[in-house]
Symmetry: C2
Subunit: 246 residues, 2 copies
């Protein structure tokens, strides 16, 4: 039953559904497991100062010309002429320490821009799952988990993360939402062997063809980073006190 | 792995996602478990000759003035001045035998109209689950299971049916589609106690408030009707040979 004494937790299964939801006053968790939000977390782990998410490759080019490092991915591959694609391994380098990074990806940065009406926006991935759960429990505000999907379609890995997050906070939030119930059922089915389950995913199969199995394996690791990147004023940052920048 | 020797089976989780899919050459299964497609099946069981699905209440009024029986539901309730709402029990009457019936509902008739590019369109519900499964296995053509949802949002019961149908035909179809994998996981979680699982659904809770628990119980019965209503030329009919009109 609906429990109005608890803040609500909703899952938006693809960005195409964002306009159906009222994000005002809510905390949006942006989810793009393969690979944008996972890679953002890696970049912060490797010392990036902030990330500027842009929707269009053209915008990333302009920033790059002004001297910033820039990552651009379309259809799962690095865009020619850019410093990085969106593989998490691209960002495991010392060069990024203290730098600003511009990033545009097929799905993840789009979801960020469509969620601008949310009160707060955090970056979620399996890599910082526990940190995100702790943060939203502490803040005790209504949450919308926004799955970036694949070109507006539903994908498994983002829904799985939404289900994992919902499970972690189920004692504090009201999970009376059909999408959330479905995401939790999916997570319960998959969690004991996440990697094998993901091998079924069309998205993962597409990535396998692109030769990025190790990206998938990396991105499914849980709670290895203790920080929660926040999107504010067109910029993604981590709180220096809770982050572990090197 | 994708198996190109088998026809594809895809699930569209809400009508808002229909434009992202190419329906050409595919068989669409229209799903609105609570309650449009369930009630359509009941109407055929009780002898309705054909159903004319219309998107707008105004169109239903025009048909009704020309002498047809008409059913209209909005927000889960019968529209004033109409013969029927969309409770399955509304259609369990002898009066309908041999009659045409006009029907407009919040979600189901909308999904029908958005799916017009499909090669064929069938009406699916738990009530005729096995008949739908048998039909698409025999025809061996690509299938898209279209969940009507609730006002363009995802709902559990339609996704559950899509998962049930996918499970029934898994030996014949290629189920390499993220939405289908998720629907099957949901079905596997819920099938042993479908009614209890549905009690969790916001949609079912809303209906409970409207006093239609027995509708839900009725609509979750599996494979009690042997026919598959087909939408063609703006009209829904069953094949007199396979149907069991009384």
């Amino acid at each position: 039953m609906e429990d109005l004494s608890k803040p609500s937790f909703e899952v938006i299964l693809t960005p195409a559904l964002i306009p159906l939801y009222d994000l005002k006053g809510k905390t949006a968790i942006i989810i793009d497991i393969l690979r944008a939000t996972s890679s953002m977390c890696v970049a912060f782990e490797y010392g990036v100062r902030n990330i500027i998410p842009v929707s269009h490759v053209e915008d990333a080019i302009i920033h790059r010309k002004s001297g910033l490092k820039a990552a651009a991915e379309r259809d799962g591959q690095k865009v020619d002429g850019f410093d990085f694609g969106n593989s998490p391994f691209d960002f495991m380098i010392d060069d990024l320490n203290g730098q600003s990074l511009v990033m545009t990806t097929t799905n993840g940065t789009k979801a960020i821009h469509l969620s601008s009406k949310a009160e707060k926006m955090y970056i979620g991935s399996f890599l910082n799952l526990q940190a995100v759960a702790d943060k939203i429990i502490t803040e005790n505000k209504p949450v919308v988990a926004i799955c970036s999907g694949w070109k507006d379609r539903f994908n498994l890995e983002d829904a799985l993360f939404a289900g994992a997050l919902a499970s972690q906070v189920s004692h504090v939030f009201d999970l009376n939402d059909d999408s959330t119930i479905a995401a939790i059922a999916l997570w319960n089915t998959a969690q004991s062997n996440l990697e094998a389950f993901m091998k079924n995913a069309s998205h993962a199969q597409r990535f396998e063809r692109l030769g990025i199995d190790r990206d998938i394996q990396f991105c499914l690791q849980q709670s290895i980073y203790p920080f929660v990147p926040e999107v504010a004023n067109g910029m993604i940052k981590i709180d220096a006190e809770t982050g572990n920048n090197i």
